[in-house]
C-alpha cells in the first residue's frame, strides 16, 4: 500500500476500461441470465421470475433440436476442414518457395472480406436451383460432364450444414495456415538435420520430429475455430436467411427476439452459447496467462 503513489496512476488510467468491461461484459452477462429466468415472453418487457421455464421450453422445442443438430454438423465439418487445409497449405509453404508472400496473401485474403459479402457469392456457388435459375458449382459440374456431382448443397436435408461449412473453411484456412507456418518454423533445424543424419526419410522426419512440435498449435487452432463455430451467425444469415433448414442456435435466438419477441427464450439460448464457449475458452485463457507468467 506504501507504493500506491507508484501504481495508483496506472490503475486510475485503466479504470474507465475496467468499469466498461465490468458493466458491459460481466454485468450484462448476469443481466442476460436474469432475463433467461424471467417471464419476458412478449414485446413488452416484464421482469417476473419464471425459473427455468424458458430452458424447459427450449428442451422440448423441435426447432431447437434442429439448431443443435445443425451446429454440430457445421462445427465438425468446419473444424476438420479448416485444420486439414490449414495444415496442408502450411506444409506446402514451410520450406520456402519463391513468391511465398504472395501465396500466403492469397490464402489469407478471405479473412478481410465479411461473411455477408462472401455469403453473396457462396450462395451463388452453392445454388441448388434447377433450370434457368441455376448457377455456380452445379452449372460447372454440368459443363464439365460430371453433372451427377450436382447436389442441393446447403439445402440438403441431411448434410446441408456441411456445405454451409465450406465458405467458413475457405475463410479460415488461411488463418490456420499462418498459425501452422509459425509452428513449422519454430522447429529447430538441427533436430530435422539430426534425424536426417540418422538416415530417416523425409516423411519420417515429419512424422517423428516436426508434427509432434505442432501439437500446441493444433490446440490453439481448435479453440479458435471452435469458438467461432459455436456462435456462427452472419454466414448462415447471408446464405440461408431465416430458413429452418439452415438454422443455428445464434440464428434461432435472433428469430426468437425479432419475430417472436420471446426474450426469455432468446436469452436462454445466449446463455447456453456462452456456457458452451466458456468450457472451451476459460481453461485456455488460464493456461495461456499462467505459461506467460512462468516465462
Amino acid at each position: 500500500m506504501r507504493n500506491v503513489r507508484r501504481w495508483g496512476p496506472g490503475l486510475l488510467l485503466v479504470s474507465p476500461s475496467i468499469v466498461l468491461i465490468a458493466v458491459f461484459v460481466y454485468g450484462l452477462i448476469g443481466w442476460n441470465v436474469k432475463v433467461s429466468l424471467s417471464d419476458w415472453r412478449q414485446a413488452e418487457q416484464t421482469t417476473g421470475w419464471a425459473g427455468l421455464a424458458a430452458y424447459r421450453d427450449l428442451n422440448s422445442d423441435p426447432a431447437w433440436d434442429e439448431s443443435v443438430h445443425h451446429i454440430l454438423v457445421f462445427t465438425g465439418t468446419f473444424i476438420v476442414g479448416a485444420l486439414l487445409f490449414g495444415l496442408l497449405l502450411a506444409f506446402l509453404l514451410e520450406k520456402g518457395v519463391r513468391g511465398e508472400g504472395f501465396f500466403r496473401s492469397v490464402y489469407i485474403f478471405p479473412l478481410a472480406v465479411s461473411f455477408i459479402a462472401a455469403g453473396v457469392v457462396w450462395r451463388w456457388l452453392m445454388n441448388p436451383a434447377p433450370g434457368d435459375r441455376a448457377s455456380g458449382l452445379n452449372v460447372a459440374f454440368d459443363k464439365l460432364g460430371v453433372g451427377f456431382l450436382a447436389n442441393d448443397w446447403y439445402l440438403d436435408q441431411e448434410w446441408g450444414m456441411a456445405a454451409m461449412a465450406m465458405p467458413a473453411i475457405w475463410a479460415l484456412s488461411g488463418y490456420i495456415m499462418a498459425l501452422y507456418l509459425a509452428g513449422f518454423r519454430g522447429v529447430p533445424e538441427e533436430l530435422r538435420e539430426a534425424a536426417r543424419m540418422d538416415g530417416a526419410s523425409e516423411w519420417r522426419v515429419y512424422r517423428h520430429v516436426v508434427f509432434p512440435h505442432l501439437r500446441p498449435v493444433t490446440l490453439s487452432a481448435l479453440i479458435i475455430l471452435g469458438h467461432i463455430s459455436i456462435k456462427v451467425f452472419d454466414l448462415v444469415v447471408a446464405i440461408g436467411g431465416k430458413q429452418l433448414i439452415t438454422q443455428t442456435p445464434a440464428v434461432y435466438m435472433w428469430i426468437l427476439i425479432y419475430d417472436a419477441h420471446d426474450y426469455a427464450m432468446g436469452a436462454a439460448i445466449a446463455t447456453l452459447l456462452l456456457i458452451g464457449i466458456s468450457v472451451l475458452i476459460i481453461p485456455y485463457l488460464v493456461y495461456t496467462v499462467r505459461s506467460e507468467q512462468r516465462a
Partner: protein
C-alpha cells in the same frame, strides 16, 4: 511471433544422397508447386465470380454464361449498387472511423499500464479483459439494447460505435500489451531516473515508438467493425442508418435481385477492407497472430 521470423539455415545436401533421391526431390517440388497454384486458383474463384458477374449485364448472368467473362463489360450494376448503397457506405464510415480511433487509443493506454506500469492485480484484470474477447456477443445483446435505450444513449450510429468501442477494448489492449512487453525495461528505468511520471513516460518514451502497434490495431479494428453484422442488426432499427453489411444483406442479398447487382454490391462493401489488406497485409497478419493469443 518471434520464432516465426527466424530464417531457416540453408540445408546442406549430404553427399550420399543418390541420384534417384534427387530426382524424387525435384518431382516432389514440382508436385508441391502445382498444389500451391491449384489452391491459389481455388481460393480466388469466389473473387473471380464476384468481379466478372459484377461487370455483366443482367441478361448475361444466366446459367449458360455463369462462369464466362462478360461479353460486354458494363458498369451498370456498379452504378446501381452505388446509388443503392452510398448512404449506407457513409453510415459505415461515420461508424468505423470514430470507433477505430477511440478503441485504439484506449488499447494503447491500457496496454501500456498492463505491461509497463502494473498495479497489484493487473494480471487478473488483463485475464478478465481477455475473456471479453471470446464471449459470444449474443450473451450481452438483449440487455445491451435494453440498457442503451433505457439510458437514452444517443440513437443508432453512436450506439453502435459505443458497442464496438467497449467490446473492442480486450483485443486492442491485448495487441498493445504484447507490443509494449518488448520495450526493454532499461528504457523505462531511464525515464524513472529522470523522475518522469506515468504520463510523461508514456508520452515521451513509449508513444514515439508505438506506431507499428497503432497500425496493427487500427487495421484490425477497422476491418472487424467494417465487416460486423451482428451488432448492427441488433442495435440499428432505422433502415436509413444501416451500415453497409446490413444493407447488402437486406437489399442486394435478396433473391429477386439480379446476380450482377448482388455481386457489385458485395464487392463495393468489401473494397475498403480489401484495399487495406492489399496495402498493409503485413500488419493485418500481425493482428491475426495476436488474436491467437500465443502468436
Amino acid at each position: 511471433m518471434s520464432t516465426a521470423t527466424t530464417p531457416a539455415p540453408p540445408i546442406p545436401t549430404p553427399m550420399r544422397l543418390g541420384r534417384r533421391r534427387r530426382v524424387g526431390r525435384t518431382s516432389a517440388r514440382v508436385l508441391k508447386l502445382g498444389a500451391i497454384v491449384f489452391f491459389v486458383v481455388l481460393f480466388l474463384t469466389p473473387l473471380y465470380i464476384l468481379v466478372v458477374t459484377s461487370f455483366k449485364e443482367a441478361a448475361e448472368t444466366d446459367p449458360a454464361h455463369a462462369w464466362s467473362l462478360p461479353s460486354v463489360w458494363t458498369f451498370d450494376a456498379w452504378r446501381q449498387a452505388w446509388t443503392l448503397l452510398s448512404p449506407n457506405l457513409t453510415n459505415t464510415f461515420k461508424l468505423v472511423i470514430p470507433a477505430t480511433v477511440i478503441s485504439t487509443v484506449l488499447g494503447s493506454l491500457n496496454g501500456f499500464v498492463l505491461s509497463k506500469w502494473r498495479f497489484p492485480g493487473s494480471d487478473i484484470v488483463f485475464t478478465l479483459f481477455l475473456f471479453g474477447m471470446f464471449i459470444p456477443y449474443q450473451a450481452v445483446m438483449i440487455p445491451l439494447t435494453t440498457l442503451l435505450a433505457d439510458i437514452h444513449f444517443p440513437d443508432q450510429i453512436p450506439r453502435l460505435a459505443f458497442a464496438h468501442i467497449v467490446y473492442g477494448i480486450p483485443i486492442t489492449t491485448l495487441i498493445f500489451r504484447s507490443y509494449y512487453a518488448t520495450i526493454p525495461e532499461e528504457l523505462m528505468e531511464a525515464a524513472r531516473m529522470d523522475r518522469a511520471g506515468m504520463l510523461r513516460s508514456y508520452w515521451s518514451v513509449v508513444l514515439p515508438i508505438s506506431a507499428p502497434a497503432f497500425v496493427v490495431t487500427a487495421i484490425w479494428q477497422f476491418t472487424s467493425i467494417w465487416n460486423d453484422f451482428l451488432f448492427a442488426v441488433f442495435i440499428i432499427s432505422d433502415p436509413a442508418k444501416w451500415p453497409i453489411t446490413v444493407a447488402v444483406n437486406n437489399t442486394a442479398g435478396s433473391l429477386v435481385t439480379p446476380y450482377n447487382l448482388q455481386m457489385s454490391a458485395a464487392l463495393l462493401a468489401s473494397l475498403p477492407t480489401l484495399v487495406v489488406y492489399i496495402l498493409l497485409g503485413r500488419y493485418f497478419m500481425r493482428g491475426l497472430m495476436a488474436g491467437a493469443l500465443k502468436g
